[in-house]
Symmetry: none
Subunit: 227 residues, 2 copies
């Protein structure tokens, strides 16, 4: 499954390591930043799924960072969990008002943090999963049931096959590069050879039988679902 990418921001090495260790153990992909400038750059460049932001930062202040992120449309809907040290009451309130989604006060137990992270991301995932099913020609793709029907006959697809088909069929006619397909399924910076996608396409076509021809090869570019 696409591991969610979390940007962790803190200037204390210990905290950073603690957080990294625990999130990593729970299957999240971690990137870190130490200064406010770094956060802004990395957030814009990598568009993580969540930012854990210490409010006490050298350089640009954490609240400032939060505000900037929330006012840039590109990064505005990345949820933010603030880390605050004891005795910064006012910061929490203003942070929440600036659009932060939640907060955890230091010192924190890893469990609490994980729980918060999961809750926030769940919200986003739930939105994804609830996506309406796709009906196109004689094919019905139902993501919440993970089921594909060809003329009402179910077909058994693997995880990647299913996601590939769903990705393509959601936007018929639109051409996807191999990397867009992989990115949609495994997350942006998942590294594979082109071959890996080809093979999935081929086996997908085979399983779709006579409907396999709806998946078209666009030579030199990628694949698309026939419009």
């Amino acid at each position: 499954m696409a591991r969610e990418r979390i940007l962790v921001v803190d200037d204390e090495e210990d905290v950073l390591e603690l957080v990294r260790f625990n999130l990593d153990k729970n299957g999240y992909k971690i990137d870190t930043a130490v200064t406010g400038e770094q956060v802004l750059n990395k957030a814009r460049a990598k568009l993580p799924d969540l930012i854990i932001l210490d409010l006490m930062l050298p350089g640009i202040d954490g609240l400032e960072v939060c505000k900037t992120l929330k006012s840039d449309s590109k990064t505005a809907n990345i949820p933010i969990i603030m880390l605050t040290a004891k005795g910064e009451d006012a910061d929490i309130v203003s942070g929440l008002e600036l659009g932060a989604d939640d907060y955890v006060t230091k010192p924190f137990s890893p469990k609490i943090l994980i729980a918060r992270v999961r809750r926030i991301l769940q919200r986003n995932i739930a939105r994804e999963l609830d996506k309406a099913s796709v009906k196109i020609r004689e094919i019905v793709i139902n993501p919440s049931r993970r089921e594909v029907l060809l003329n009402n006959k179910p077909v058994d697809l693997t995880f990647t096959e299913f996601n590939t088909l769903y990705t393509l069929a959601k936007r018929p006619g639109q051409v996807f590069t191999r990397y867009q397909i992989v990115g949609a399924i495994r997350g942006e910076d998942y590294v594979v050879t082109d071959r890996a996608i080809d093979v999935q396409i081929v086996s997908l076509r085979k399983k779709l039988g006579s409907y396999g021809k709806y998946i078209e090869t666009v030579r030199g570019v990628g694949y698309r679902f026939k419009d």
Copy 2:
């Protein structure tokens, strides 16, 4: 809809007023208490839909109150949101373990509090509505009696097994991620490894005997009850 009644417990007049004002503005009916004894009495007498409970109380301690409420079957299923001073993680953890449903650390923004209140009540309403018993194939699940019948023969399931089965069987065909299952049973904040869910599934299948096969594994995603 009937306005939900919320019992707010705090010994600081300011906090009480702030909370009352905001909840009132959002259409909830407020009752207040200042001491632990008062809470217990009012909770039992009025059975509010939710209790917002400060942990720092004169007289009986907040955690103690929480525990008492949760161990009395009359009040056990009233959800509790704890109010904690910041940096008292130990309290939060033990509070959640004692059965509190959520927590908010002071100082809090009214927005956050309202959001939490809404979320908790929503969940409870959903839970109430879902109480209908499920009959699917040869299996009957009766949540109010906590009883499962296979071809009219009762099976003995543990708490988690029962809830897992019920969660899946309520929506046959729908795939649940492991965390959706845990979330439905233990609440969003509950943290476990994937393995914990797997084990429940396995033992559930075993107890269901030949009907165990209705619980299907969806590789890479989660589980579902066969449609």
